[in-house]
Symmetry: C2
Subunit: 336 residues, 2 copies
Amino acid sequence: MRIAVDVMGGDHAPEQILAGALEAAPESDGEILLVGCPDAIRRTSRDPFPKNVRVVEATQVIQMCDPPVEALRRKKDSSLVVAANLVRNGEADAMISAGNTGAVAAAAHILWKCLPPISRPGIATVMPALNGRFVLIDSGATPDCTPKHLVEFAVMGSVYAQTVLGVKEPRLGLLNIGTEEAKGNALTKQTYKLLKASLPNFAGNVEGKNIFDGEFDVVVCDGFAGNVVLKTSQGMAELMKTMMSGILPKNRVLRALIGPVLRRGWNEFMKRTDYAEYGGAPLLGVNGLCFICHGHSNAKAIRNAIRMARRGHEARLNDRISKWAAEVHGEPVSAS
Amino acid sequence: MRIAVDVMGGDHAPEQILAGALEAAPESDGEILLVGCPDAIRRTSRDPFPKNVRVVEATQVIQMCDPPVEALRRKKDSSLVVAANLVRNGEADAMISAGNTGAVAAAAHILWKCLPPISRPGIATVMPALNGRFVLIDSGATPDCTPKHLVEFAVMGSVYAQTVLGVKEPRLGLLNIGTEEAKGNALTKQTYKLLKASLPNFAGNVEGKNIFDGEFDVVVCDGFAGNVVLKTSQGMAELMKTMMSGILPKNRVLRALIGPVLRRGWNEFMKRTDYAEYGGAPLLGVNGLCFICHGHSNAKAIRNAIRMARRGHEARLNDRISKWAAEVHGEPVSAS
């Protein structure tokens, strides 16, 4: 398999991106394509590359602040567009970028189109839970959704949990504002009925306060609500950290004893919620494998994203999504 | 002023509700109407009541598990319906209940109707922030909203922050999934334009991770997103508490030293986020004052809710909402 890595995207590009890609190379039996400016790449890493690493030239860079769709149009020779085109043209199987999230999602969606029969892409983010983790989908790609989109997200998230995270029978929950079937807004009420009728792993509604209980492996919602969940969790964690550190005792000895424990607890928590552990979030439902990494990504995050992409490719993630979604929609499975 | 208290609603009813109402009586110059079963009330409190406390009989009780609208129809002599009718008939100025939240909201909405020119009610919940607090509206009353509803919530939340919480010039934020004007779903994009054009205190979009920063006094959103924010925050806080307690050192002496500090930090945090501090959340936009208290409400929560109701009444909360909303809608102000 060949993985195109956007070496120029991210706050710590190209150094950390390059480092992560080079760390991943020895454990990869396929090829890693470093897409970016050859000069910048060479300045960063002077050692000869492993045999399965190759540079693909791109002269432009899409910045974090660039308006996504416009940037794709204006910067046709940017590392992101070149990487996306490698996948579109069959020269790579997956793309990884820690650049401008909106631009990465737009590049995959516009240049690759949706994966038939999926109608909208969704970002699958791994979140921490008691004794485990769960997949939140969509965490921001499609803010306006129909019930059909949510059913597709449910399929995509379930297949991702199975193939990449190794959850045999993922329990699926619908994010809602009550657990009873009749609760919710128009979208969730209709979606509930569709999920109940079509997905055997659907286990009912789940409220925001229970998503972290570890009872659900996949939580499905529209991209607006999902982004609200993701960012409210981050904000709440930050608020608690600040409040907890404000209650350290005045006594210096006690302070010296307790401070490190609090910090360790916090670090443990952050590790559990660390994007780098999962390498980034896949944009599912597009016609190719796309991993969107956090802007702050370090080498470890990139290496893990490459691992996830490999796992998704080996498990034929997209074929499985296509097949299950076609069954759910009652459409004939295309012979791809 | 006269405040109708649903003595039979809540997990700790009637004891804690009664205790809270009786604590509030001496500091109230108006009348407190205890709505419920006279026998149950007398069994709970045998001392003679203060002069400004009066029992209003109601023979039925709406249970926590009753389906809201059906319960209102079937239990016409329930403490909740009797209390709501006291307000409707002008025999009370406000209603307070810790009972079935859906039923309380439905009683106020159905029996009182909306406060002209408001078209949908919204629950205003006070949430903790760095160095303060903010009002989240709607936190669950109206899950499906139009931009007009959100503008009305913005007015209602701003007036509540001014009159009851004492924030002179409340900074208003629109909950969104990006800070730029063009970000969001169809609802927030349109709402942004309306808010910008009509509310001088509108300060832009705010993301979930920044609502706790203390930069906004009022955060407006539809009832689905608001409920997701509220409950995700609770779930995240619980998750962090569990994770932090899991990292206590094995050494018994250290454990004995650190445990209490962690607990104190947690309690401090819970106090900041404690519903009882604000006594409950007002259902705004209905034609009367309605405070929905948490099911777990203790005497303190009820006493504080009575205080909030008094403050709202004295500050003519609803008149101000009507006036501002009419101005925003460009409608003539009715001579009420």
